[in-house]
Amino acid sequence: MPEPVLELQGLEVRYGSVPAVRGLSLEVGNGEIVGLIGPNGAGKSTTLHAIMGAVPAHAGDVRLHGRSIRGRPPERIARAGVALVPEGRRIFSDFTVEENLRLGLAGRRKRNGADPLQQAYDLFPVLHEFRRRSAGALSGGQQQQLAIGRALVAEPEVLLLDEPSLGLAPMAVDAVFEALRQIREREVTILLVEQRALHTVALADRTHVLAGGELRLTLGPADAANKDKIIAAYLA
């Protein structure tokens, strides 16, 4: 396995006295895609929010390149190189497509030669086509591309995605997964939370099944063919 970029060590998150994530440990190596699947309420989104600093971790640690980022505010974690594509896309609908992408620059740390907006346009040509349109006028699939593009212009090392295929038509779902393949080729490290278990298992280097806030099982790409195993993991 490549050197871990993102590590969770015994992560615990509670909402009041209700535990949402219990002792979760996992690693995501450089350029890997790691999937996180499981039923509703398993603690998948909470895990991403805890990494991002949007909810406090009760115990355990979150490490980026071996250094703890636990307890930092979200904007500082974003600037340290972690980008979240939130559930429901959360694009800024009053702004144009291009303005949305430019906002992503707020989390950018380094400036190298390449124009980050152009990289997003290369990945999602439709964003270039509609760059002057109000983002609220895009279709759901296009908005999802915009949300991913907005996260990428910050040139993050780690990309966190929270159910990017939620509510999308099947073709748009395929487009999202295809984009993730291309993003992996750029050596971006990806932690993907999904409900589409088969798609995720097939794409990811490893997929962890989470239930009741705990890690239950880890699947490899070879398991994608084994539907029964995945279904059993969900029902366990």
Binding site: P73, F95, H128, R131, A154
Partner: protein, 347 residues
Amino acid sequence: MRRYVEGAVQLLGPVALVVVVGILSTTVSSANRIYFLNALVSVAMVVAIYVFVGNSGVLSFGQISFVAVGAFAAGVMTVPLDSKKGVLTELFPLLRDHSIGNIPSLLLAAGIGGLFALVVGLPLMRLSGLAAGIATFALLEITHNILQQWTKIGPGATTLSLVPQTTGAWQATLGALVAIAGAFAYQRSRLGRQLRASREDPAAAQGIGVDVHRQRLWAFTFSGALAGFAGALSVHLLGSITTDQVYLELTFLTLAMLVFGGLTSLWGAVVGALAISGLDSFLGQAEQGVHIGFKLDLPTGSRLVFLAAIMALVLILRPSGLTGGGEFRIPGLRRAGPREEAPAPPA
């Protein structure tokens, strides 16, 4: 290129409106001129408030504090030296023994307004929603009482008079234009966009690296500077001022202007300021009795009753204000569709 054309159009509306009011002010009798100039100064004040409230979505009842600080700083520092030594005897020697000209006075007011906003903004900008509204109200109360009681920095509870009346048609128009240009440049800047994004969705904005607290603080500071500047314009228009003139009623009036025009756009701030200011002047005269084909004589106090009722009505019937919360657009001149100008995307 298109971006600049679009921007120019958005700026055109507010600028044209202000220039027209400025020109009109020179054509009316000197008794009526004050109403026009007052409207222009109101534009500067409301635009100042808009810079923070409109862009951040956080309500503030405290921005008139900065108008007050600017007005008294400008007023105290421009009263001619020989009169100052006679009436403002308790001032700190630095304030008592110096006097400055018109332009330095406007700049000083902007600087002090901005500095004051920065200092109080450091703790206040951590709040949002109801807590922010109440805390900024507390700020207004603190500022008012300090200005009213501390005679080492101003006239205290008495009227500050003998301030040079340098705000004529030119200064009022240019002053309003400066505020508009500043607000416009800010809202189109990277910082302004970040703050507006946080207004739409604070959590999403933080998630892409926007430091919401810091962006609010910049806007609060810039708003304070413009408010101080507007306060200076005001005191140089009136020639005299009391602490009660920059307190609750002005807070209410300027917020009514902003709500009436539309909280979230510069165009709304300008339209609201001019419309409510005009109405306010008219109702004020109607309380004294005016002839508009018939004699209209309203009972005393009906001015504020009407204005408050209008504010409530707008909030009920058209919550995004007269302009709908959008910037100025020329009807028929719409954003070109992507097909007309974007090169075909690679397949």
